[in-house]
Amino acid sequence: MNLSVTVGNVHLRTPFLPASGVFGFGDPLFTPGFPLDGLGGVITKGVTLKPREGNPPPRLFFGENYALNSIGLENPGATEALELINKIPKEYPIIVNVSGSSVEEIVETVKVLKGSRADCFEINLSCPNVKRGGLSLFSPVTVGELERRLREVTNIPLWFKIPPTIDPVGFGAALERTRGKRKITLVVSNTLPVAPMKGGKFLFPNKWCGYSGEVLHMLNLRTIKLLRDNFPYVEVVACGGIRSWEEALNYRLVGAKAVEIGRGFLLNPRIFSEMYRKALEYLLNSGTTWEEVEEID
C-alpha cells in the first residue's frame, strides 16, 4: 500500500513529517542508522532573512508528558540556509519553514529561498518565544496579506503555521472575510505559549517559551475539528503531542491530512519507521487508505 498524500499541492511520501526544529536541514538523513522509511518529507529549521543567535540558555526542559523550549529562532540566515537546503537528498520533498519580524522580512526571505529546491514554504506566524515577529505577527489579516504578497513573488506552495491559542470559528470566519473561501493549508499548530516559573523566577531567561505535549494534542484535536467542520476548504496539517500512531490517527480522524512530529522524534528517533508500519497494518485491516479514512462526527 502506498501512503503518499498530497497536501496543499505538496506531494508527500507519507503523511508523517518532522516538525520544524527537530530535523535541522535534514541532518538525520546524513547520520547512519536512522530508519527513515516512514519519513514523508523534510521540514527545515525556521529560516529568517539574516542569521539569528537565538535566545540565551537554558533553552530546553523536559517534563513527564511535555517539553518546553525557548530556542528563539537561531538559524544561519537565508543565504546559508539555501546552501543547506540544496544538500538535502532529492528523494525527499522539502518544506522550508520561514519566520520573520515583519511581513516584509518574510517576503524578502522567501525571495532568497525561492532559488532553493524548496517544494513548499511553511510560513511560521506562531513562534512563542521571540520578542518581535513570530506569534505577535499573527492575525487573520496578516495571513491574507502574506498570502497575497508571497503569491506576487513565487508559485511555490504555501502552508501557514498558526498558534494553538485561537478561537477556531472566529479565526476561520475572519480569515474568510479577508481572503474568501479559496483553499488554504494551515499547520495546527506551533507550540503553546507559556511562562513557567520555578522558585519565584521564570524558568527561561526569555520568560516565554513553547509547550509541546499531551495537552497540546487535546487542544489541537478540538481546533482542527472546528476548523474542518466550519471551513471545509481549509486543509490541515496537525502538529502537537504525537508520540505514537494513535495520536497521528486521532488527528486524521478529525480531518488532518498530514502530521508533524517534534518532541516525539527526539524521544524516539525510530518514530517515522514505527508509525509507518503501524499505519500500514491499521489501514490494511480497515480496508481503507489514509486519504479515505472517514472523519468522525
Binding site: 537554558p58 523536559f62 523550549n69 544561519p76 524521544l267
Partner: protein, 240 residues
C-alpha cells in the same frame, strides 16, 4: 547545521549487564559494534518508556561492550537500572568532540562526572569527589590509576579541597574537569593555576547532533552547543 559527525550513528543496542554499585550508582553495559569513543564523548539513550533523551558520558568499553556509569536521579535512571539483559535501547553516538589533552593528565571529577575520567590513560592522576563513600567505584578507579585521591563530602572534604592540596601542578601537561556546576565554578574561581584546563559541560539534551539547538551554553566566543562544539571546552572559554 548539516553538522560535523564525530563518527556518530544510531544503533539499537541490547543490554548485556546492569551492575549495581551502591544506592547512588550503577553500571549499564550495552552491546556496541560502533566506534570506540574518546574520553569526554557521550551517547544519547532513548526509549518510548523514557520521558526525555538521556545523555550519558562514555565510561569504558571492551570487546563489543559499552559501559556507562549512571547516577540514580529519578524515574528515567530508575527505569534503566531495572532493565533485563537483551532489552533494546536506541543509542546515538559517539557524540561530541572528546578530550585531546596530552599526558600526564590531572583529572578532577565530582558525582556522575567521575565517569568521564575513567577512560583517561593510567598514568593520569585522578581526584574524585562523592557525597558519600563509594566503595565499589573507588576500587575500580584504584585498579586502573596508581595516583588516586578521593574526597567524601559526608566526611567534610570536597574534590576542590583535594585540588587545593596538590603541591606541584607543573608536573601535569593538561587537566580535565567534570562534575556539578558548583564544583566547576569553585575550581574556576579558585587561585589554582591548572595546566591546560578543559571542562566537560552538561546540558539538557534534545537531539545530540546539533539540530534542536537546545543544549546551548554561553562561552567567551558566543553561544555554543554542548553536543557539537563540546562537551569538552577550554575552561577559560566557558561562562558559568
Amino acid at each position: 547545521m548539516n553538522s560535523q559527525n564525530f563518527g556518530r550513528r544510531l544503533e539499537q543496542c541490547e543490554v548485556v549487564n546492569v551492575r549495581h554499585l551502591s544506592s547512588s550508582f550503577f553500571e549499564l553495559s550495552l552491546a556496541w559494534k560502533g566506534t570506540v569513543p574518546k574520553t569526554g564523548q557521550f551517547f544519547v539513550l532513548t526509549h518510548t518508556e523514557l520521558s526525555h533523551p538521556v545523555p550519558l558520558t562514555f565510561y569504558r568499553s571492551s570487546d563489543g561492550t559499552l559501559t556507562f556509569l549512571v547516577k540514580r536521579a529519578g524515574k528515567n535512571t530508575e527505569f534503566l537500572s531495572r532493565l533485563p539483559n537483551g532489552f533494546k535501547l536506541n543509542v546515538l553516538g559517539p557524540c561530541g568532540n572528546g578530550f585531546d589533552g596530552n599526558s600526564p593528565i590531572l583529572g578532577v571529577g565530582g558525582g556522575s562526572g567521575v565517569a568521564a575520567l575513567f577512560s583517561l590513560p593510567p598514568d593520569s592522576k585522578v581526584l574524585l569527589g562523592f557525597k558519600t563513600r563509594e566503595v565499589e567505584l573507588e576500587r575500580s578507579f584504584r585498579e586502573k590509576f596508581n595516583e588516586l585521591k578521593v574526597a567524601v563530602e559526608e566526611k567534610g572534604k570536597t574534590v576542590v579541597d583535594l585540588l587545593l592540596e596538590e603541591l606541584d601542578l607543573t608536573k601535569f601537561t593538561s587537566t580535565l574537569l567534570c562534575g556539578p556546576l558548583g564544583m566547576i565554578k569553585a575550581v574556576k574561581n579558585s587561585s589554582v593555576s591548572l595546566p591546560n584546563p578543559h571542562v566537560i559541560l552538561e546540558a539538557i539534551m534534545g537531539c545530540g547532533m546539533g539540530v534542536c539547538l537546545g543544549c546551548t551554553v554561553k562561552t567567551r566566543s558566543g553561544l555554543k552547543k554542548v553536543c557539537i562544539h563540546g562537551p569538552v571546552f577550554p575552561l577559560e572559554e566557558v561562562v558559568l
